[in-house]
Amino acid sequence: MMEKMIFGRFIPGDSIIHRMDPRAKILFVFVFIAIVFIANSAVTYGILLGFTLLVVFLSKIRLYFLINGLKPVFILLIFTFLLHIFFTREGDLLVDIGFIEIYEEGLRQGIFISIRFLVLVFITSILTLTTSPISITDGIEVLLGPFKRVKLPVHELALMMSISLRFIPTLMDETGKILKAQMARGSDIGSGPVKERIKAVVPLLIPLFVSAFKRAEDLATAMEVRGYRGGEGRTRYRQLDWRFKDSLSLLVLAGLAGMLWYFRV
């Protein structure tokens, strides 16, 4: 069940996207998110969709895998699509079956919003799928660097992030293990009435919390033993390397923005 989820997962690879500097990728995603809102017509949304598919292609991640892994998102997508279809009452009336009335503008809005949603989810997923959590954290730490002046604990935030990311797979594994052990004892989360299911969560959550706290304590001790004392004066083992292709990727994005602006209605 959880094996197919791809949120926050990293797939090692050697595509051009994988090799980009994490800072470039993070900037790219943020700028892209802003650019998406320029689009407002069939042509511009088409360009956005094409561009996104191109990025997916360059990342060498199979589209099928991406779509399969994002299934839960599609439920949300369909829901917003339906909301737009049923609640926008502008333009020509297209369908009218009793209480269901679908207007042209509703259909248009529905499709546009869905595309917008889709490209955002795809691009952000590509970021996490092609960048190891450690690189993302490094990138964020550097990008947030200027905020140190206003006393933002940048290093600590980055450390917190990398620790949480590091422990997601561990906790997932542990959840699976405990789930199986309790299933073997006859507790069943997957079936039965809602009340029973909620009750079945307790035997899963308590052991999980107990071990998470224990792990946290062990980790703190291990860090202290190895002389960790915060970010002050700490050097880096992994150096980030900004290259021409990273600048180029941002230029391409500027080009995309220009194009969208040009074709905007």
């Binding site: 895998f65 052990a181 309790q182 073997a184 004892r185 052991p207």
Partner: protein, 290 residues
Amino acid sequence: MDILLKEVGYSYAKDTPFEKRALTNVSLHIPSGSYTAIIGHTGSGKSTVLQHLNALLKPTEGSVVIGERKIEAGVKAKNLRDVRRQVGIVFQFPEQQLFDETVLKDIMFGPMNYGVPEEEASRRAHELVEQLGLPSEVLAKSPFDLSGGQMRRVAIAGVLAMEPDVLVLDEPTAGLDPRGRREIMDLFHQLHIQKGLTTVLVTHSMEDAARYADTVAIMHDGRCVVTGDPAEIFSNEEQLRDYRLEPPRTIRLQRKFEEKAGITLDAISLTEEALAKNIALALSEGRDSE
């Protein structure tokens, strides 16, 4: 209860880039009433096999027959509760599954899930706590206040309280002190005989496998490569080394003794007691012939 694995294959995370094959064409018959040890090097697929024994994992190829139930690859299996009640699993580090307020409630959790009345479940808990050598005061305590060894025993009691027909043990004594190990393994063996259980022991310990099992299966690279009688399997040192295993200590000592003394003992020694007896026998024979 018989368990039959037929050409079972299993891949984790099937159809994703993370797909990982764990089992290939595993066929294994666990006859009713037998004590089967599954041994193998780390990563050989022992634990994956174990989870097929009560349908926690369903094969991606082949089929598993558990008693009357057949679980086939590609066929949706529903209502596995019955199977899971009949096959109890003690997982590695089972103390991780403790959760309830008191030890008593935790032990009663399993049986009550399967519809055993409260009084009966409580009776079983009291009995098991005694059997496992814990003081009866622990019943009222929180499981998190116990020592590691005690937690382990409570967790084992929680599985035994379901009174399964088949008991599957995954390294049940890992991390315990030598005396605790022996006590718990002896208890499992005693239950095996008393209640006519079918026992499956997954272990790294060749000594335990040699001492308790009547059938041994070797796993290697996701395949079940050898099954047979422990005396036969453990006397074939070359084969064991091929699968990166060592013979049990008793046999290693026996071989050294034979080499030094220049004689061959009549039988292979699977336990310390047997080894002592065999050596004593050989020595007295030696004296007679002089």
